[in-house]
Amino acid sequence: MHEASIAASLLEIVSGQCRKSGCSRIESIHLKIGRASGIMTDALIFAFDAMKEGSPAKGAVLEIEEVPVSGHCDECNNTFTTEQEYILSCPCCGGSSFRMTAGRELDVIDMEVS
């Protein structure tokens, strides 16, 4: 729902980093977005494309890597990765003593500039 503010922050980060590296154009941006981050990638791309005009990222494409939800259960000591967005119980033992270790990412990894 707030993909527009996420897109604005992203644009600020990559434009700043692009200038810092002495380049003028961003070709592509590699993002990692967790499946449980609550962000819809289509909406993010839509918002980013609408905002990028007039910035060093005007020709940039977003390369989005989805990160599945992973966790560790302290009860059965298993580490797991699931296809689901949210986990209600440990997929191994059904217990509730698990911690999510991945799946909430909203990270810019790197970008291709020229």
């Binding site: 729902m1 707030h2 449980a36 990894i109 500039v113």
Partner: protein, 215 residues
């Protein structure tokens, strides 16, 4: 040429949130980010809390898309209050809070409530510098909400179930709300209150007092 960025997209917000947090800590303030869908009773809970606060010094930041109705309701209780209008934004962010800190007598408050924009989705994503997130759900919203809006239940330290006086008139399964909310967040502290009758409010206020001491 490849350039490493390695930055969290919300880093700028998190940084400002941390600065806000430092200001709060310096003033000895315990800060609660209060979140719920529209109409769950955030302002009513604050009214009840203010009415029963005794020596607890409470301040409020009100976040709404538009209008100052909520701040006017809080003002009647003689509590320091600031209204933020987000002008369309679906949540409060750290910068909006930072902008109004100078308008509150921080040294004269023990507990600051930041009443977020009514929305079960976005406010959970943005830190504003709080010590703790607390969410409110009115039982009339239905027992399917924890599984439909899991993030807010996961991010909150406490859940206040409001409008329990309506239970006889609905088919809501409060046991299911509790069970699903605890599955998402086993450490969640749950209160059942009715802001209309005042039921459950003393337990809530007692708990606030212990949080303030711990914080």
């Amino acid at each position: 040429m490849k350039v490493k960025v390695a930055t969290k997209i919300l880093e700028a917000n998190d940084r400002i949130a941390l600065e806000n947090r430092r200001v709060f800590d310096h003033a000895g303030l315990f800060v609660i980010n209060l979140m719920s869908g529209p109409g769950a009773g955030k302002t009513s809970l604050l009214e009840r809390t203010l009415a029963g606060r005794k020596d607890l010094r409470i301040g409020v930041i009100e976040g709404d898309i538009a209008g100052s109705d909520d701040a006017e309701r809080i003002e009647k209780f003689g509590a320091p209050v600031v209204q933020i209008n987000t002008g369309g934004a679906c949540h409060l962010d750290a910068n909006m809070i930072s902008d109004v800190l100078g308008d509150l007598p921080l040294d004269e408050i023990d507990l600051l409530f930041i009443e977020n924009v009514g929305n079960l989705v976005c406010p959970a994503e943005f830190k504003v510098g709080e010590d703790m997130k607390v969410m409110l759900l009115s039982i009339a919203e239905g027992h399917d909400k924890p599984l439909k809006y899991p993030l807010m239940f996961q991010e909150s330290s406490a859940l206040v179930l409001n409008k329990t006086d309506l239970a006889p008139y609905t088919d809501v399964d409060i046991g299911k709300i509790r069970k699903d909310a605890l599955s998402l967040n086993p450490g969640l502290k749950i209160f059942e209150v009715s802001c209309r009758t005042g039921e459950g409010i003393p337990e809530w206020i007692d708990w606030l007092r212990t949080q303030k001491k711990n914080g």
